[in-house]
């Protein structure tokens, strides 16, 4: 951003001390069982301003946003709109006050058209819908903010970025003056992020207020007029000035200490081939999910797969793990074919698999840590828990899992600790010593401290000679850890580069489907 933007940022904030903020939270306290999610939090956003809530997962930023839009009610404290105290008993009440939230997980009906989704929930519709008139109205709203959208398109056919635009148009159509964007960039590729930021500028220019929720420092600095940093439910700092904030300072406010994320690569020579994939294709319901994928992963090497969610990464991991059978092609681990032989066979050859969905797939939520450790191991007819118990206790200590011992239920672990349990199980070897580790989005949703730990664990595993396939939507993570990088787009490898010389722009373009030089 230019220096001029700094001036703009000052504009609404300092120009008129009398102008009341569009929306303010005053000494908000919100308590959940066992957690103080918000502890006397003050926050305000001015008209035409982008005010960011920055914090790690669990810092309380989503809770605060939920109260600002009427999803939750504060235990104590109150909210004012243009200086007047309001009670937000529901999101509908929030809408009536012109406050709308764009959730991280979209709330759209996939089978409906864009226009139908936008008008969903409106109460002033006539009994018979006049579709073309509604579509015109929706298009008019979208255009006035420079949000290109096709009102007649079915939402199920749209890309993630377009769906997000539908959510924003919906909020604007409903008359929102204040938009809360919850981690809006988490699902977008770099080009889409740029587009989103343009839209945000168009909206602020029209006098809308934006509350931007994020934990990504770079983009926060770029987009925000002001930043409020939360840690453990408390405000730890306010920083103002677009493009001028110091990311190091923000990181320290966010985490409470200085953070160094390792960017190590295999310094030693890599060993023999552990994973071999040959011409792998997978068709699901007539759609080519994976086409003609071939690569190897060597012992002591970490191969990164970059890509936007839904381009075949999950299926690639599941196929390697023996959970899906490929339509054609072959997979072998340590020289033995595993194609069509099921997950247990793959594990017997040394596979360990950390799936993306921790509590939905990797762990059984209602079971204890102890029982979850048994999930991928050989259990006898009568499950022998007494001999596994000491090992469980040892792993809890070794991986620094915050739990009340091996009987702690998986569902009650925080995201970071659940991930550590999963890693503890998969790295410690089950049926046989781990040779190949497939990990999907290992640090997603974790706080910075836990990210450090998890990355160090992966690095240790690599140094110990394990072959690692890292599949992640977090491009920074793939770029900073991988020895080699493949970009997956619509089920094909569209780009391949060594980790050291990888260029963010090239890889980002490949993720978006723009053909870069090199492999097609």
């Amino acid at each position: 951003m230019t220096n001029a933007s700094h001036e703009v940022a000052k504009g609404p904030h300092h120009a008129s001390g009398a102008a009341p903020s569009a929306l303010s939270a005053h000494s908000i306290v919100k308590r959940f069982p066992g957690v103080l999610a918000n502890d006397s939090v003050d926050f305000d956003v001015l008209p035409g301003e982008v005010h960011t809530l920055l914090g790690e997962n669990g810092a309380g930023k989503s809770t605060l946003a939920a109260m600002l839009c009427g999803l939750y009610q504060p235990d104590t404290g109150y909210i004012t709109r243009n200086g007047e105290r309001i009670a937000l008993s529901s999101p509908r009440a929030g809408l009536q006050h012109g406050i709308a939230m764009v959730h991280q997980h979209f709330r759209l009906v996939e089978r409906f058209t864009v226009a139908e989704n936008v008008i969903l929930g409106s109460r002033d519709l006539s009994y018979k819908l006049n579709r073309s008139e509604l579509e015109d109205k929706v298009a008019a709203v979208a255009e006035s903010y420079g949000l290109p959208i096709e009102p007649g398109a079915t939402v199920g056919d749209l890309s993630v970025g377009q769906r997000q635009r539908v959510e924003i148009v919906k909020a604007l159509y409903q008359g929102a003056e204040i938009l809360l964007l919850d981690e809006p960039t988490a699902v977008l590729v770099p080009a889409e992020v740029e587009k989103l930021f343009e839209n945000v500028h168009a909206m602020t220019k029209a006098g809308k207020s934006i509350v931007f929720i994020s934990h990504k420092l770079g983009e926060v600095v770029e987009i925000s007029d002001r930043v409020t940093v939360l840690r453990n439910g408390r405000v730890t700092g306010h920083v103002s000035g677009r493009g001028t904030a110091d990311t190091k300072e923000l990181a320290r406010l966010m985490v409470g200490r200085d953070i160094e994320l390792t960017t190590q690569r295999a310094s030693h020579a890599t060993g023999h081939e552990i994973l071999q994939i040959r011409d792998l294709s997978l068709t699901v319901g007539g759609v080519n999910v994976l086409s003609d994928i071939s690569f190897n992963v060597h012992a002591g090497e970490m191969v990164g797969i970059a890509g936007v969610a839904g381009n075949g990464q999950r299926e690639l991991a599941d196929t390697i793990a023996g959970l899906m059978s490929p339509t054609s092609g072959s997979i072998s681990i340590s020289g033995s074919m595993t194609t069509d032989r099921g997950p247990i066979h793959a594990r017997e050859l040394g596979l360990a698999y950390v799936p993306e969905d921790r509590l939905g797939m990797g762990l059984v939520p209602s079971m204890s840590i102890l029982d979850n450790l048994l999930l991928t191991r050989d259990r006898r007819v009568v499950v022998d828990r007494t001999t596994v118990r000491p090992e469980a206790t040892r792993l809890i200590e070794q991986f620094e899992i915050k739990a009340n011992g091996p009987d702690h239920m998986a569902r009650k672990l925080s995201g970071g600790n659940a991930q550590k349990v999963l890693l503890a199980r998969e790295l410690s070897g089950g049926r046989t010593a781990t040779k190949l580790l497939v990990v999907c989005s290992p640090t997603r949703g974790l706080d910075v401290g836990a990210i450090e730990t998890v990355r160090a664990l992966l690095d240790d595993a690599r140094s110990a000679g394990q072959a690692i396939l890292l599949i992640s939507e977090d491009l920074d993570e793939v770029m900073s850890l991988s020895d080699r990088i493949f970009v997956l787009y619509r089920g094909s490898v569209v780009h391949e580069t060594p980790g050291e010389s990888a260029q963010l722009a090239t890889v980002g373009a490949a993720m978006a489907g723009l053909k870069p030089e090199g492999k097609s």
Partner: protein, 365 residues
């Protein structure tokens, strides 16, 4: 916003232990209160009715043995229902599987009873009954595990077919199951070798202890074995089961078959005593349906089913006797059964949520 008091459902992170006992108990009490309202409305004294039920069901020595005798079949259908429910498989056709168990048990008794001694015949009758019960859930289990067809519908509908089958075997002329040349169509009694007599001339049969043993074994199987572990994984997270290479289809199949076999066992138990014959009267008794309520009240815990099964047997047998001693309608027992199910299911809300009222003013202070 308008009302000054708002009821808040706050999800519990953990269910307090005492609630797991308190909620079922209060469900029974609440059902009794509702029952009392009906009794009052129809001109009976609730106190007198309940005290009669109590003494007929639980406190007199004859009452106790009658109750334990009846509980034998109810515990069978209770563990049958719970075994499927724990894996989120809703076998509500225990009733039909029970009829099949009775048909199978009677067939085994009639066909083989004259050739084999008692110590062989009793296990044979029970085994054939269990197999017959399992056969009645074979089709629902197959389509459920392969095609995902709702087992609720298939098991329920098969119950009606099973009821017709019972009537067919009793009322069609020349049937294998009935006494030849009898003016009144009636099931033929199985030979002595295929039935037992009640302990000390009561209606409590030795099969009671067998059923208790089975319930305890199942309790152990679910808690301690690999099979129980697998069931727990599948019921909580089918995707985790897939991830771990657990074959959910096969386990679904086997769990449903075992559930059917347990209801069938309940039917065979009735052949050994007290029925001794295929009796169409079974269709009106609803022992299979009662198993659903017993399992729900015990929250599918196999050792708790022993308790809830006995409790239910007491309510049923006490209720049945009321009509003989007083003129209270027999249906009070069945009505209480329905009310208990409703309250037990509704009571789940208290276990899952911390429910409390808040003043809305406070929220904006």
């Amino acid at each position: 916003m308008r009302s000054p008091i708002r009821i808040v459902f706050e999800q519990r992170s953990e269910t307090p232990k005492h609630l797991s006992v308190l909620v079922p108990l209060l469900s029974v009490v609440a059902a009794l209160v509702v029952g009392a309202l009906f009794l009052l409305a129809t001109g009976y004294s609730p106190l007198e009715t309940y005290s009669n039920m109590l003494s007929d069901g639980f406190t007199s020595s004859r009452g106790i043995t009658d109750t334990l005798g009846l509980s034998t079949v109810l515990i069978c259908t209770g563990i049958s229902a719970a075994f499927a429910f724990q894996m989120n498989l809703y076998n509500i056709g225990g009733e039909g599987q029970l009829y099949l168990g009775m048909i199978g048990g009677a067939w085994a008794g009639l066909a083989l009873g004259n050739q084999l001694p008692t110590f062989v015949m009793i296990p044979v009758v029970l085994l054939v009954g269990a197999l017959a019960g399992a056969s009645w859930i074979l089709l629902p289990a197959f389509v459920r595990s392969r095609l995902g067809t709702s087992e609720i519908v298939t098991t329920l509908l098969l119950t009606y077919i099973a009821a017709s089958l019972v009537k067919h075997f009793v009322y069609s002329p020349g049937s294998f199951f009935v006494t030849k040349n009898s003016a009144f169509p009636q099931g033929r009694l199985v030979p002595d070798s295929a039935s037992l007599s009640g302990i000390g001339d009561t209606s409590l049969y030795p099969t009671f202890f067998l059923v208790i043993l089975i319930a305890l074994v199942l309790f152990w199987v679910v808690k301690k074995t690999e099979y129980g572990y697998r069931i727990q994984v599948i019921s909580d997270s089918p995707r985790a089961a897939h991830y771990a290479g657990i074959n959910a289809n096969r386990t679904t199949m086997s769990v449903m078959l075992i559930s059917g076999a347990l209801s069938g066992l309940g039917g065979a138990v009735l052949i050994i005593g007290p029925f001794g014959r295929l009796d169409p009267g079974i269709i009106l008794l609803g022992y299979g349906y009662a198993g659903i309520v017993i399992a729900a009240l015990a929250r599918n815990n196999f050792s708790a089913i022993i308790v809830s099964g006995i409790l239910f047997a007491g309510l049923r047998s006490g209720g049945d006797k009321l009509q003989i001693s007083t003129d209270t309608p027999i249906h009070i027992g069945v009505m209480l059964q329905g009310a208990i199910l409703l309250f037990a299911l509704g009571g789940e809300a208290f276990r899952r949520y911390h429910i409390h009222a808040v003043r809305t003013e406070r929220a904006t202070q």
